[in-house]
């Protein structure tokens, strides 16, 4: 191979940094944005209505404009994002738990491995959005429905990764040694397998997160998720559908854009962490 000149690494503005420094800066900046959304969102309880200022264009006073009740769209968006993030956190936690349990369960023997593979196939055979609707109907809709709907359906990619990792680790000699020493399957799974899976799990959670938020918004938009009086992004967007033909573009544009940015931030964090944890790319 001829060494190619790559400018990629010199594009970093301010100063030339290696991947580790870049990643840490990206993570810190993104984390600051996300945490500040969460904190400020929790302070927004009552958004004052004023019908005098209804349906105003975005201005310095109202960054994202106002809606039909004169509420400030910027405040509603932040509150909605923090609600979506909270739902996303809980749902990701549920999903991660399921995929770790299933991943370790697949290590017991051939039969359990087949069961796990079958469950993954079953969940993969129905379009994701219908599956979420199905689960959320089962829990009777509402907040509980959307959390469980998103949480119980996002574990498949991570479970698939964990299952193949487990298969690989199980061929190692020290696993056989442990088995011969009479250690139980659960002991081996927790003491030998789980520690090696930690980095995959961390990356899996972070990459699962943006999907969870987007699906939460989609389900709420369709009307299955959070109730209409909650300030969720999906609710805001569904409401703004009624004002599209009146030309009130800011009602839909800014909340969706904010959601996009939050999702992108998580994608960046996930990819950077993945690079850092992967020994092949960590030293670039």
């Amino acid at each position: 191979m001829i060494k190619k000149k790559t400018d990629d690494k010199e594009q970093w503005f301010l100063f030339r940094a290696n991947l580790r420094t870049k990643t840490i800066i990206i993570i810190v900046l993104s984390a600051i944005v996300i945490v500040s959304i969460l904190i400020s969102g929790s302070f927004i309880k009552e958004i004052p209505t004023s019908f005098v200022n209804a349906n105003q264009l975005p201005s310095l006073e109202h960054l994202f404009g106002t809606d039909w009740m004169g509420r400030d769209m910027f405040q509603r968006t932040i509150a909605g994002l923090s609600l979506s993030l909270t739902v996303g956190f809980i749902a990701s936690a549920v999903s991660t738990l399921i995929s770790v349990i299933l991943g370790l369960f697949s290590s017991f023997n051939r039969f359990t491995d087949e069961i796990v593979a079958g469950i993954i196939d079953l969940f993969g055979s129905i379009p994701h959005i219908l599956l979420i609707i199905l689960v959320s109907i089962m829990f009777g809709g509402g907040t509980m429905g959307v959390i469980m709907g998103v949480g119980l359906t996002h574990w498949t990619p991570l479970a698939r990764v964990l299952r193949s990792e487990v298969k690989e680790i199980k061929t190692k000699e020290y696993i056989h040694l442990s088995e011969n020493l009479g250690k139980s399957k659960i002991w081996i799974a927790v003491k030998h397998l789980l520690p090696l899976l930690i980095s995959q799990i961390i990356v899996g959670i972070i990459l699962m997160f943006p999907h969870a938020i987007m699906h939460e918004a989609a389900i709420t938009f369709l009307g299955f998720g959070l109730p209409p009086h909650e300030p969720a992004i999906g609710v805001i967007l569904a409401e703004s559908m009624n004002y599209l033909s009146s030309g009130y573009w800011w009602l839909a544009f800014y909340p969706g854009m904010s959601l996009l940015i939050v999702v992108l931030l998580f994608d960046f964090i996930g990819e950077s962490v993945e690079k850092l944890l992967n020994p092949e790319t960590a030293q670039e």
């Binding site: 609707i133 109907i137 573009w249 996009l260 992108l264």
Partner: protein, 329 residues
């Protein structure tokens, strides 16, 4: 490839298909049975009835029948092709699904082809000119569109083309007051453009990113280096050594995207009020029309299975390496 292998392949797939369908049928049925939906109140829609009539209805819907009997009846009916009667449309579920799906298949097929062709093209152009402004533009676009909710993209397109520019009608499959049979082709087509555009714009991102990354990898391989040293260059080099290698996995990937295509159609049809299978699914879910919703779930599973099957077949037909050792394990 001989006939015996083909029969073996398809019988294996058929058995898998049957097992999967039974699993999906039982799974979705149990989930909906556990839900707090009361079929009698859904059927009555709030109409007042006497206790006696309610008991008759409860008997009719089998409210107090144990779960395993219900599942058994459901599977038996399913084998006979009887999916029940939709509570919203008051018509056989199968008829409703077929009618709505024909509207959706046009939308999905056009956007599937468009997103595949455009995505592949963009990926090739971006991969060939790695690091140039066009590569960066494609990358930024793909990242942004993959992070954007597809229904929001649809709303933006609706705002720009239908509201602001006024080129297209705002929604509905046919104009209000015209029955779907009387609508002219132009009326159908004008309402199809924006949903198709949205689905294509959203769907081309994964295929473009995949093509770009694969092409870059192929172009940095040793045999491309050798070809370059032989004097091949420019578009011919990409065509002879790059595209031949990446076209087939890209086609397979596109077949595997049937699940996302269906999901995208659900959201986009809702935004554009397009009377397809996705909008029907949402209506069935919101109004607790259990038979229709179960039917659509089953139907979507068939749809996704067909996509995966086509992907397998395309792999098998196209890649000589797989032909040799597919059935040896």
């Amino acid at each position: 490839m001989n006939n015996k292998q083909i029969i073996k392949f398809f019988s294996y797939k058929l058995i898998r298909f049957i097992i999967l369908m039974i699993a999906v049928a039982i799974f979705s049925f149990v989930l909906l049975d556990l839900s707090p939906i009361d079929p009698v109140s859904v059927y009555l829609k709030g109409a007042a009835v006497s206790e006696a009539q309610r008991t008759i209805l409860e008997q009719y819907f089998g409210v107090n029948v144990p779960l395993h009997t219900k599942i058994f009846h459901w599977l038996v009916d399913l084998f006979q092709g009887n999916l029940g009667t939709s509570l919203i449309f008051r018509a056989p579920v199968l008829d409703v699904i077929i009618q709505k799906f024909t509207a959706s298949i046009v939308l999905m097929a056009i956007s599937w082809i468009l997103s595949g062709v455009i995505g592949f093209g963009l990926g090739v152009v971006a991969g060939k000119n790695k690091g140039s402004w066009i590569d960066k533009a494609v990358k930024v676009y793909c990242y942004a569109i993959q992070s954007a909710p597809s229904f929001w993209v649809g709303m933006l397109i609706l705002m720009v083309f239908a509201v602001y520019l006024g080129w297209f009608p705002i929604g509905f499959g046919v104009p209000i007051g015209v029955s779907s049979n009387d609508a002219t082709f132009a009326q159908w087509a004008s309402r199809l453009v924006l949903p198709t555009l949205t689905l294509s714009l959203v769907g081309l991102a994964p295929i473009a990113m995949y093509t770009r990354n694969e092409l870059i990898q192929v172009l940095s391989s040793d045999y491309v280096l050798f070809a370059k040293s032989r004097g091949e260059k420019g578009w011919d080099l990409v065509k002879n050594h790059g595209i031949r290698n990446i076209l087939l996995p890209a086609i397979t990937l596109q077949f595997l995207s049937f699940s996302e295509l269906f999901g995208g159609a659900v959201l986009v049809e809702q935004v554009f009020s397009y009377p397809g299978i996705g909008q029907t699914a949402v209506a069935a879910g919101l109004q607790s029309d259990v038979p229709l919703f179960l039917g659509i779930v089953l139907f979507s599973a068939v749809f996704v299975f067909i996509g995966n099957l086509l992907a397998d077949i395309s792999y098998y037909l196209i890649d000589p390496r797989i032909k040799e050792n597919e059935f040896n394990d």
